[in-house]
Symmetry: C2
Subunit: 230 residues, 2 copies
DNA sequence: CGCGGCTTTGATGTTCATCAAGTAAAGTGG
DNA sequence: CCACTTTACTTGATGAACATCAAAGCCGCG
């Protein structure tokens, strides 16, 4: 039985991933410097230009990381699930966020004062190493995914995104798209109309079933083939 | 006068950027764990799949970071000068390099056993923080540049690259392109023929002068306009 | 019920890749 | 140092891929 009136950080899943080197007593201190925030679908977590004062990570939900492009359009650079998002990149190198982040599903963000993270790094070598490794992994993933997308043509990109949702995010062949067609377009740098057209094509070729936001991948092999060839 | 038979790390420019928190005595130890390698134009520094055993950074020269795409083509994700390249990303999160790196100009790479860097992080909080900040900055730059390029059309991308060489790398309006037309194409994800065509167009419109690899930017404002509009 | 936003589809035009052929440049071996 | 070979560059012509525009359908919400 857990006493819910006390700090729950010691039972947080994240403890194993990013804070595994911290002792119980340190976790208790961590609790004092942390806060949790809930966001509903569409809620803005922070935006470009906001001052960076906290280290944030996603406890549950789904977020998009994006910035405004020259033309005022949205450029989405990542769609991330828990463990894959932290208040990314540049928390130490910059004063202000370069990217906006908003919830695309009900999300809970855990946020820790940056000063405390800083002091942990200063005084706790194992933590520093672990933390660094995590940050590395996360930025690495973003870069790799960007390259993967850039590599592909329209159909390949749409297939790639569908497989990303199926394999990485929902781990299911049937799922509800958490994003609009336009957001997919902003993510893969294509026009909305062509994303829709491609989805329709996939439906006509019976690679997927489509009902509004609900997608079911029927012919997985073919979708993979399109993704890897395109 | 510097005794060149001894460790020169204490006089290395990099000391101020990445190792400023280390004491002189620590720098001396660092020397024992470091080696320098020279590469001539075209030389391969490491390739995808090589085991990561050292932290590397560029002391002088110019390198390209790339990977093989599906189709066997080269995808260039960064062209970096000293201070902007370190044996990037993922040195802690991965066992093997995900990207190849090769010299596009005479280059000197300084390389330090990863175990030693690891021990510094473990035992030296200030160093950990500084090191992390550097890595952050570097990966950040890569992501930002990728987005910038993705944003633009053909002419905009070519203009962007020319401005990148002029402003960031050579700090001069006249310079020799260190890369082939094909490499520019691989960097901005366009075809070689169209890169050449665009350069010719710029020449015809008297925005630049072109003699083989030598580029002179004549109409800077116009080039900027093309870069920011496209 | 009606309005506004997201989605869908078709028609059209632009942008870009591809192919081909030719030229210049740069390396290679005698 | 020259002939030879190869690789890089250049340009034009063609077609494919994709964006854009416009009109209509759908759906949720006040």
């Amino acid at each position: 039985m857990i006493d819910t009136s006390k700090c729950q950080c010691s039972d947080c899943q994240f403890r194993n991933v990013t804070f595994s080197t911290l002792e119980d007593s340190e976790i208790t201190t961590l609790c004092d410097y942390h806060r949790e925030y809930s966001y509903s679908k569409g809620g803005l977590i922070h935006k470009e230009g906001d001052p960076i004062q906290e280290f944030k990570y996603l406890k549950s939900g789904l977020v998009k990381v994006y910035r405004a492009s020259n033309s005022g359009e949205e450029q989405i650079l990542a769609i991330n699930k828990p463990f894959d998002f932290v208040s990314n990149i540049s928390i130490f190198s910059e004063e202000r966020y370069k990217y906006s982040v908003s919830a695309i599903e009900e999300s809970v963000i855990c946020s820790i004062k940056l000063d405390y993270i800083r002091s942990l790094i200063l005084n706790h070598g194992n933590f520093a190493l672990e933390f660094m490794t995590r940050l590395s992994q996360i930025t690495d993933k973003i870069i790799l995914q960007t390259l993967d997308i850039r590599n592909r043509n329209l159909a390949g990109r749409v297939a790639y995104v569908l497989l990303y949702f199926a394999n990485d995010i929902y781990k299911s062949m049937i799922f509800d798209l958490p994003v609009s067609r336009k957001e997919i377009a902003d993510f893969i740098s294509m026009s909305t109309a062509n994303v829709i057209r491609t989805l329709s094509d996939f439906r006509k070729e019976e690679i997927i079933k489509l009902h509004g936001k609900t997608v079911e991948i029927v012919n997985y092999e073919k979708l993979e083939m399109i993704s890897s060839r395109g």
